[in-house]
Symmetry: C2
Subunit: 470 residues, 2 copies
Amino acid sequence: MALKAIKQGARNDIGIAAVKTLLGARFGERFQTGDAVRAQHAHTTTYIPAQLPDAVVFPENAVEVSEIVKIASAHRVPLIAFGAGSSLEGHINAPHGGISVDMSRMNRVIEVNPEDLDCTVEPGVTREELNTFLRDTGLFFPIDPGANASIGGMASTRASGTNAVRYGTMRENVLAVTAVVAGGREIRTGHRARKSSSGYDLTRLFVGAEGTLGIITSITLRLNGIPEVISGGVCPFRTVADACNAVILTIQSGIPVARIELLDALQMKACNVYSGLSYEETPTLFVEFHGSAESVALQSRHFAEIASEFGSKGFVWTTKPEERARLWKARHNAYWAQKSLKPGAAILATDVCVPISRLADCVAATHEDIAANALIAPIVGHVGDGNFHVGVVFDDKDADDVERVEAFIERLNSRALAMDGTCTGEHGIGQGKMPFLETELGEAVDLMRQIKHALDPDNIFNPGKIFARA
Amino acid sequence: MALKAIKQGARNDIGIAAVKTLLGARFGERFQTGDAVRAQHAHTTTYIPAQLPDAVVFPENAVEVSEIVKIASAHRVPLIAFGAGSSLEGHINAPHGGISVDMSRMNRVIEVNPEDLDCTVEPGVTREELNTFLRDTGLFFPIDPGANASIGGMASTRASGTNAVRYGTMRENVLAVTAVVAGGREIRTGHRARKSSSGYDLTRLFVGAEGTLGIITSITLRLNGIPEVISGGVCPFRTVADACNAVILTIQSGIPVARIELLDALQMKACNVYSGLSYEETPTLFVEFHGSAESVALQSRHFAEIASEFGSKGFVWTTKPEERARLWKARHNAYWAQKSLKPGAAILATDVCVPISRLADCVAATHEDIAANALIAPIVGHVGDGNFHVGVVFDDKDADDVERVEAFIERLNSRALAMDGTCTGEHGIGQGKMPFLETELGEAVDLMRQIKHALDPDNIFNPGKIFARA
């Protein structure tokens, strides 16, 4: 299972020393080796143990990234691109040591083309920064993974989140990237046309490559018009199955729901306690509709009819921003609410994704598993996509507890794969999901490895991620 | 330019003879070497000269495809996967000789999952066959490139067409493929989850690879509910710029238009003559809206307001099927109408795609170019995506005419690339666009070549396509 797979790898100490000397001379204050800064750049947000890089460098433009790649390449030293550090599966750990390349100073919005609904940004721009920048244009970037992640990191993990059911994931919303690849060359994978049949889809190859094929230096993104009106509501159900069936019919009916999130009974309880709310503690859908006033009214009414078909009473929707804010507060604080279930505990946040017809079964079986093993593990899902998260609340200092949780995670992944699903809908493989990737895609992983070897012959780009073996 | 790039390549005659013997013994009647069948499997639909394969084999399942690949691999003989033969850039020519692998007998719909809005089909199923099969489920597969292409071919060229502005292209609508790759192994690139962050996006790599990385043996597709109501209308404008600006505002306003097609004045004239209609011979948008009765009424009214802002008079819309059918007849017969402009002439159907803000400029400059060079070349565009087609009507027996047309195509592609566009929005590279790919993506094409070499070390999968050099 996950944790067992995470080993400290072989280190090229001589190369690392040489690269530290060279980068230190070249980047001065923008090259740091202190323990604190190194610890900040190792894995901090999850259950996965931290593996610190040897140093951190802060490039300011693609030419500098290219210089760093050339130096690292000459000495075969790992480079780990770092965005905001909010990934969840150990993506930014340094199992073979090496240099963390912190992209936070490459945080310019390079251009916005309002007529084309696109923009080009450097990878260190965070999604909140981008949306703040865009506010006056009437446009927004819809992908919202929760954390204020960097756009480069979101591209690299193929992130999505609550809005994906309507607006797609990073896969659909990245039009092109530039990246510094092996040898230090900067390549461009596409231009600004909305579609193209021009050769292999390198854009989609870099999206989700987790920094293993090069370092992204700019990203061209699709944007959307800020909806004229947003309506939202909370809709309690008797069972997870009823809630899931309402979701299936909503999607099948072609209602362009913008968000449709499931919170299970335990999560609702945690949210009530944490946020001082008084929602019914039963499986609940949080929904949001975007469009004109007429359109959101139509969508909301249509959804209400569907929800009542599946026994939900009391779906109310509102377009008032303050009421919507209160409504989504509970959802947005889900992680902190989980934490409050057992003060001082660790949380293992994991995700799987299944075809939506299997969602109710998968969640039900997972609930049984949680109960049978006396785990505390609320479930929150981007259910329009069949994607759900389990937040396992546990004591990471207790070996028995860790073992129980690891066994649970193995069963959760096996269950999702047996239902024609995937071991990760949006978090990525990193270190935590490496064994499950092999189970999921078998010999196809050989093709991925062949691509990795072809494009990164020196194995300097984020080694020890995605692939359980080289 | 295009035609100059198309050369007969080196042939491995000894290997080809050996493979013919082996496949003949193994496949009997399902292995054919007659001139007529070979000619049917070379390029027939375009201006590109035919280059016949040495033989055609008709596998019936993935195991047989694997056998074919192993035999071809052992003797380093090219395999050219063949769907319906409707591609436009020489994709199915055999510049190095070799074996056409006709997938038409692999035409089963393997499964349909109505609740998940997906299905899995063999590559030889055509899009019309699939939609006929789906009719009773209330679902449809929206991608419509015009021709009754095979799903395998559509995946391989990353096809799209009139509905892409709403439903996306093959890139967005293929959930996973299985493919027989080098060595004869069948791999699976994904499962049925709507989204996944599980390793490199091999699905998107095979979509648009034009058969150069392996032979697709099944495709899992997203489906959509058949719209409750469809409304459509025809909307004349004074200028291409007015029509394009109406499109931009429609897209920006978030109106989920299902089709929005531009026909220029010459194309309207040709359609009137060919289909016996009496539309105004002026730049015209054909639009279609999908949804509930209320929703399409809303969309149609909203669009009509936008059109009138840009000076269009007389936009009328209808939900009556027979009226819609008449309305779209002109659009669907655009190619034949083009043909009628100069009986006996050839047509070079080409496509480029630009950001929509540049579309009016690109079409205007192309119109000037057409006029200055006395060409007959109507323009039809999937303008919601910035994608347009020029149908150059010319005499392919007249060397001067051919030269003029080739020079025009070069300028057209340069113009699109200078506007941050792509040399092909939906036709693919094949042989015809090879030089423009290099201009468009520069050193990124080296990465594509590295991937090609890594995944197809014997260079047996559709060699001589996409890449102007190995």
